[in-house]
């Protein structure tokens, strides 16, 4: 009983982190049709930036803000200078993001060296609280809470603001959105920034749980892809549900069948793609 409870709570925490990682990824894909293959690198870089800010003596929440902001700026630069140049050529854009992932990964190795480094838990969230008779780290509960708040905020942004309306219009029908006078290039930059910021923030928040290490980027990227495929590119609710689903499956898989953990993780994704391939990506040619 204890085991299930602990694993469930761990699954929740991982799910929360995955949501922070994947919401940005799904947003970018949904609007721009670009699978941002540097998204895992953004997550990792955000964590590294947060680490440096913490090492410089600032507080945890300053680190989170720095992580989010720095990656937002990076995302804006990349979108503006590179992706926009290749606008209309989705595959070129996807491949460019792959090249950028390589650059970020290697630069991080250069700047922060190769040792895995956990981020320290903020003092206010240290310790554990009893949850149904089991002691669970406060921090992980906080992560779940933050992801829920973010989900609500994101949902509110998309459903209740003008910006959100423009994004939704673009996701549904890009040509129509353009025809309606929506400033598509600026919208792309804004969304790319937002998605990147979420990834950066997620990286810092994940630091105390996952640590930060070279290879974190390529560990996280496939997970974001799974969430995108299971949750769909159009809904915050879908990404939310899928993130927690994956968080649970991964956590329980690791605990019960460590040798097959990866298989258990990817099998639903392959199954979803194989059974319903056109659902996600629209009409196929031939």
């Amino acid at each position: 009983m204890r085991f299930w409870l602990i694993q469930s709570l761990n699954g929740l925490a991982l799910g929360g982190l995955l949501f922070l990682l994947s919401s940005g990824f799904s947003l970018i894909f949904g609007l721009m049709r670009v699978a941002n293959l540097s998204h895992g690198a953004y997550f990792m870089l955000g964590a590294y930036v947060g680490l440096s800010v913490l090492n410089a003596g600032y507080g945890f929440w300053a680190a989170v803000a720095a992580g989010a902001l720095s990656i937002a700026v990076l995302g804006a630069i990349i979108e503006r200078l590179l992706l926009r140049r290749l606008s209309g050529r989705t595959f070129s854009q996807v491949l460019v993001t792959l090249g950028i992932a390589f650059i970020i990964a290697d630069s991080s190795l250069l700047i922060w060296s190769g040792d895995p480094m956990p981020l320290p838990v903020p003092r206010a969230l240290m310790g554990a609280v009893p949850v149904f008779g089991v002691f669970f780290p406060k921090y992980r509960l906080a992560v779940v809470g933050i992801s829920i708040v973010t989900a609500v905020a994101l949902w509110a942004l998309l459903e209740r603001t003008r910006l959100g309306a423009m994004i939704r219009a673009g996701v549904d029908d890009m040509d129509m959105a353009r025809a309606l006078g929506i400033p598509v290039p600026r919208l792309f930059t804004a969304v790319f920034c937002l998605g990147s910021a979420l990834a950066g923030m997620g990286g810092v928040l994940g630091g105390p749980i996952l640590s930060v290490y070279p290879g974190l980027d390529m560990d996280m990227l496939p997970l974001a892809l799974i969430v995108l495929i299971l949750g769909g590119p159009r809904s915050v609710v879908g990404a939310f549900a899928a993130s927690f689903f994956v968080g649970f499956v991964y956590t329980f898989g690791q605990a019960l069948f460590p040798q097959l953990a990866y298989v258990i993780l990817f099998l639903p994704m392959v199954a979803a793609l194989v059974i319903r391939p056109s659902g996600l990506f629209g009409a196929q040619t031939a």
């Binding site: 590179l82 390589f102 290697d106 097959l260």
Partner: protein, 313 residues
């Protein structure tokens, strides 16, 4: 035949590294050849088939693992092990092709990526079979007919011979009636279907051909390194070979070879002077995508023609 001088030049180029005084460069040459076969195999899918895969490392990796396992753990001798490794891996590629071709475009990319990740995870975790993070080692190079392939030079010639075969057979496939169909399917799948071509099957056969040649590269890889670890199946491996194809020029025969040269040189030679070869690789790739998206071979060819045209004025 006007092709003759070009062929002589290529053969000469192929033989040059073998005569280098330094073992280091001979080995770099071998690495380039293995990478070139690998890149040529992916190019069948990406360049000629129009199907971008991010999981191609699966075929090199599984073939390498099988080769080493069959020889060191199952006691097979070299040739049967190599044949079995290629056969089994090619069979796997058929199954993976069936799964992956349920979608095209981004869906296809994601399925190939997922399948690659599953294999990587298995290699990492299934320690009893794959050795986990430590990998499999202990493969000795064969010495048939008195030739000792542990010598870098001898192995280079072997790799060169395999490369030459691969290049010729792939060139024939690409210029064959099937190859014409494959490229037609890449360009206008709906039209091809309306002309009587079985689009899905054409793609599947290309997928299997790519898997076959990838597994051939895998056998060479196993014997060259005499060691294999999960890293060969990681996403970065698949990304690297995709970079080779796209940077060199997908849809051309020389492109993947040039791409292999660039990447391997960056890895081995440049890394002696510049420690950050991965970053350089990323920068080179981004630069190519922005300025020469069709790849180095077609891009340079375009520049050459433009210069010729300008010179004529």
């Amino acid at each position: 035949m006007r092709r003759a001088p070009l062929i002589v030049a290529c053969v000469a180029l192929l033989l040059v590294p073998a005569f280098s005084p330094s073992d280091f460069y001979v080995n770099v040459g071998t690495q380039i050849l293995i990478a070139a076969i690998f890149a040529l195999s992916l190019n069948l899918l990406v360049g000629y088939g129009g199907l971008i895969s991010l999981g191609h490392a699966a075929y090199l990796g599984v073939s390498a693992y099988l080769t080493i396992w069959l020889v060191t753990r199952a006691g097979l001798s070299h040739l049967p092990a190599a044949i079995a490794a290629v056969a089994l891996t090619t069979a796997m590629s058929a199954v993976f092709g069936l799964l992956s071709l349920r979608a095209t475009g981004l869906g296809f990319l994601m399925i190939t990526l997922a399948l690659g990740q599953i294999l990587w995870g298995l290699a990492y975790r299934w320690v009893s079979v794959t050795g986990g993070d430590n990998g499999l080692s202990g493969l000795r190079r064969p010495h048939p007919f008195g030739i000792d392939f542990s010598s870098p030079r001898a192995f280079y010639f072997l790799a060169a011979a395999v490369f030459a075969c691969a290049f010729v057979l792939i060139a024939v496939l690409v210029r064959s009636t099937f190859g014409a169909g494959l490229q037609g399917v890449r360009d206008q799948p709906r039209r091809m279907q309306a002309l009587g071509w079985h689009v899905w099957l054409v793609r599947l056969l290309a997928f299997v051909a790519a898997g076959f040649w990838g597994s051939v590269a895998g056998v060479l890889y196993a014997y060259y390194n005499q060691f294999v670890s999960p890293h060969v199946l990681a996403l970065t491996s698949s990304a690297e070979v995709l970079l080779m194809v796209i940077a060199g020029g997908a849809g051309t025969l020389l492109g993947p070879v040039v791409g292999a040269v660039v990447v391997v040189m960056l890895k081995n030679v440049v890394s002696a002077y510049v420690t950050r070869w991965v970053m350089l690789l990323g920068l080179v790739f981004v630069a190519i995508m922005v300025f020469m998206p069709e790849g180095l071979v077609p891009g340079l060819d375009r520049l050459r023609r433009r210069r010729l045209a300008a010179g004529e004025r």
